[in-house]
């Protein structure tokens, strides 16, 4: 089976606009989640993790002035550029028929929900966003910017979207339908999403506390991240390789539209499945980047699932205490963080934790340390019970 490697990455989040900035923030336990007021009154009164760059600044930096481009797309473009530059891809390689682009997003252009409402209800003076509201607008824009001729796809499976995008890119390369794949996700904060999560009563009024007994819910965040994947036969000898995409599995919890089953069946199956596809035993996983949204339901179910798979789970932490929950981008952002761990042989501290969940008693890593790491598992569990587990291995 053809091996697939990661040769480039890019990320933008509340804790940094580049890989380097994110890395430094992770090491130093920086929290990008802030209490209100936020950059816009539209963003309401809950804690959120905003990317520090405004749309105006993003446009300036990216030199993109097309009014139809939404914030989600701007964030995606920022991370995409960093990734392809990092991988040293030429314009020709990006646009090649053999290069796929697979992206995940849940918000798409719904960051412009006011405009959508006006466009539909008033119908006369159309906004520039008429074809920007859907999820695909983000990756259609990238395809057009870079004149990409390969397989282009948009995936929306809620919080696991980018994880499936990474998996799909890997499978395209393994099948021979692509030689390279640029894979990832993007999502931006929007009052539409904030109101929706609020209506589900899963937002925390405080900064979130993953895996803590007194957690009260999640904090929404925004961001984007991309990985450049290349098949082993296509990588030139001098290319820098971060790691191998060793395992990927997608399983369904099949329990409820917005919460996980008590014993974490979907997460359990996803983790077991990923180990199977990676050809690894549970004991060989050195660290888990957990989904860890800090909702009452997720963290307990996820803990139970980890115990079922590992008995005694390896060190783990959730980086959502740094970046908030970046939804469709989460699995890609967290993949970048897993790769940083592997590259630097270090584990970053999980934040805001003080006491274990009664019953499961699992404690995340809370202090920075250097550690020999070979295999890292990264998990993302979405609405609708869509559970994805990825395993990255040092090559």
């Amino acid at each position: 089976m053809k091996r697939v490697f990661i040769t480039g990455m890019g990320v933008i989040s509340a804790i940094g606009n580049t890989v380097t900035e994110n890395h430094s923030a992770l090491k130093n336990g920086v929290c990008g989640i802030t209490m209100p007021p936020h950059s816009s009154p539209d963003l309401g009164r809950v804690p959120l993790a905003e990317v520090s760059l405004s749309n105006e600044l993003l446009r300036e930096r990216l030199q993109v002035f097309d009014p139809a481009v939404t914030r989600t797309t701007l964030l995606a473009l920022h991370a995409f550029r960093e990734a392809v530059q990092d991988a040293g891809l030429s314009g020709e390689e990006i646009s090649s028929e053999r290069t796929a682009l697979i992206g995940g997003t849940t918000v798409g252009g719904m960051s412009q929900s006011d405009e959508l409402y006006r466009d539909v209800s008033e119908r006369y003076a159309a906004s520039p966003f008429l074809s920007s509201y859907d999820c695909s607008s983000v990756f259609m824009f990238l395809q057009e910017q870079y004149r990409m001729k390969g397989v282009i796809d948009t995936i929306n499976t809620a919080c696991s979207s980018a994880g499936n995008a990474i998996g799909y890119g890997m499978r395209l390369i393994r099948s021979g339908l692509a030689g390279k794949a640029i894979v990832g996700g993007a999502d931006s904060l929007s009052k539409f999403t904030i109101s929706g999560f609020n209506a589900l009563h899963i937002l925390s009024p405080e900064i979130c506390r993953p895996f803590d007994r007194n957690r009260q819910g999640l904090n929404l965040g925004e961001g984007a991240a991309f990985l450049v994947l290349e098949g082993e036969d296509e990588i030139s000898a001098d290319k820098k390789i971060y790691a191998e995409v060793r395992g990927y599995y997608n399983a369904s919890d099949a329990f409820h539209p917005t919460s996980l089953s008590a014993n974490g069946e979907g997460p359990y199956l996803a983790m077991q499945g990923a180990l199977g596809t990676a050809g690894l035993r549970a004991g060989e996983v050195d660290f888990i980047n957990a989904h860890g949204t800090a909702t009452e339901n997720n963290d307990e179910s996820e803990s139970r699932a980890m115990i079922r798979v590992f008995g005694e789970p390896p060190p783990f932490a959730s980086t959502k205490s740094n970046t908030g929950h970046t939804l469709g981008a989460a699995a890609a952002v967290e993949a970048v963080y897993s790769l940083l761990s592997l590259e630097n042989q270090e584990i970053y501290p999980g934040l805001h934790f003080s006491s274990v969940i009664t019953g499961t008693e699992l404690e995340p890593v809370t202090t920075y340390r250097r550690s020999p790491l070979r295999h890292i598992m990264s998990n993302s569990f979405g609405f609708g019970g869509n559970c994805v587990s990825l395993i990255f291995s040092k090559s």
Binding site: L116, M140, D153, I155, K191, A251, A254
Partner: protein
């Protein structure tokens, strides 16, 4: 080869539960709306919460899932607009009631994967589950996905579906952008398929699928030429071109280019007369082609080419072939 074992379509025509295309229902006010079935067998408790696209998708998929002895190994859906209608409902609530104290139902339904996850819950299916949302290629991406899955595990069966509803909000946006001048019909529908990598008693199979993004007619022609050269066996031609032509004259050149590569004997079937225009209309095209192929009595190679363009920028080719039953087997 991806073999098709079953196909169900809920469409503006009489296609489910019984099939009769001798009487064609015409558009009303430039729109073709589906003839919704009674959705027997779907728990009322679940049905009540479903928006139209989820309902149609489940309606088309549930009979297939009920008929399989074991859970399918994957549920893969394509939807272009899935979620927009419910998103707009939620926005209306936000406008009317402010941003606190809102009912979460339409928000939960507005995630594009609501249908795929409902299916997994109804069927207690814990296997692979994916929703592709790449607009006019959402169904083709789902088709490609199951093709890859079937290569990875030839013995497994998968549910593949393409669904989109004609919601007032989507129609409004498309109309404002100029996609519905008078005469161009908007449509909707759900088509679901049971597929696998093994022939069993399948009557048709997808040989290949290709997609591209381009506004250049020459690029489309060249890509189709390569596609046919690569996948059509030597000496065989296209029996029928299932064409996505929808009356929009701006698309004429693409369809002309495609037709120029067909042979004289190729029949042309314009499928959007039956289902109207929507991002996953090619799912209906596949259903229609499958039906024609499975009912045809003639022996010999029968190749159907589905060519569709969505808004002139996304293009797809699907090559479907009829399976000729081995004479020895028939004894």
């Amino acid at each position: 080869m991806l073999y098709i074992h079953q196909a169900v379509a809920i469409s503006p025509q009489e296609t489910f539960p019984s099939f009769d295309l001798t009487r064609i229902y015409q558009p009303v006010d430039n729109k073709l709306e589906v003839r919704e079935p009674s959705y027997e067998g779907i728990p009322r408790n679940l049905l009540r919460r479903m928006g139209k696209s989820v309902r149609m998708g489940i309606g088309a998929s549930a009979p297939i899932l009920r008929s399989t002895p074991r859970p399918v190994s994957g549920i893969v859906i394509g939807t272009g607009n899935g979620g927009t209608a419910d998103s707009y409902s939620f926005l209306q609530q936000m406008k009317e009631y402010g941003e606190e104290m809102l009912t979460p139902g339409s928000f939960a339904q507005s995630t594009s994967n609501a249908m795929a996850s409902q299916l997994s819950m109804m069927d207690q299916n814990k296997n692979y589950n994916l929703t592709h949302v790449h607009r006019g290629l959402a169904f083709e991406m789902a088709l490609l996905d199951v093709s890859l899955l079937s290569l990875e595990d030839e013995s497994a069966f998968y549910l593949l579906a393409g669904v989109d509803e004609l919601s007032p909000s989507n129609y409004a946006l498309d109309e404002m952008e100029g996609w519905y001048p008078p005469g161009i019909i908007a449509g909707e529908g759900a088509a679901a398929f049971l597929v696998s990598g093994q022939a069993q008693n399948a009557l048709a199979a997808v040989k290949a699928v290709a997609t591209l993004h381009s506004n250049d007619v020459e690029v489309v022609r060249e890509q189709l030429e390569n596609f046919l050269a690569t996948h059509l066996p030597a000496g065989e031609g296209i029996t029928c071109l299932v064409s996505g032509e929808n009356g929009d004259t701006r698309m004429n050149d693409y369809y002309k280019a495609c037709e120029s590569l067909m042979s004289r004997g190729t029949a042309v079937l314009q499928f959007k007369r039956f289902c109207g225009e929507y991002p996953t209309a090619s799912a209906f095209a596949l259903w229609l082609a499958y039906h024609q192929l499975s009912e045809a009595e003639s022996a010999g190679a029968r190749n159907y080419l589905i060519y569709n363009t969505y808004k002139g920028r996304q293009h797809s080719f699907i090559l479907l072939t009829g399976i000729v039953k081995d004479p020895v087997e028939m004894v």
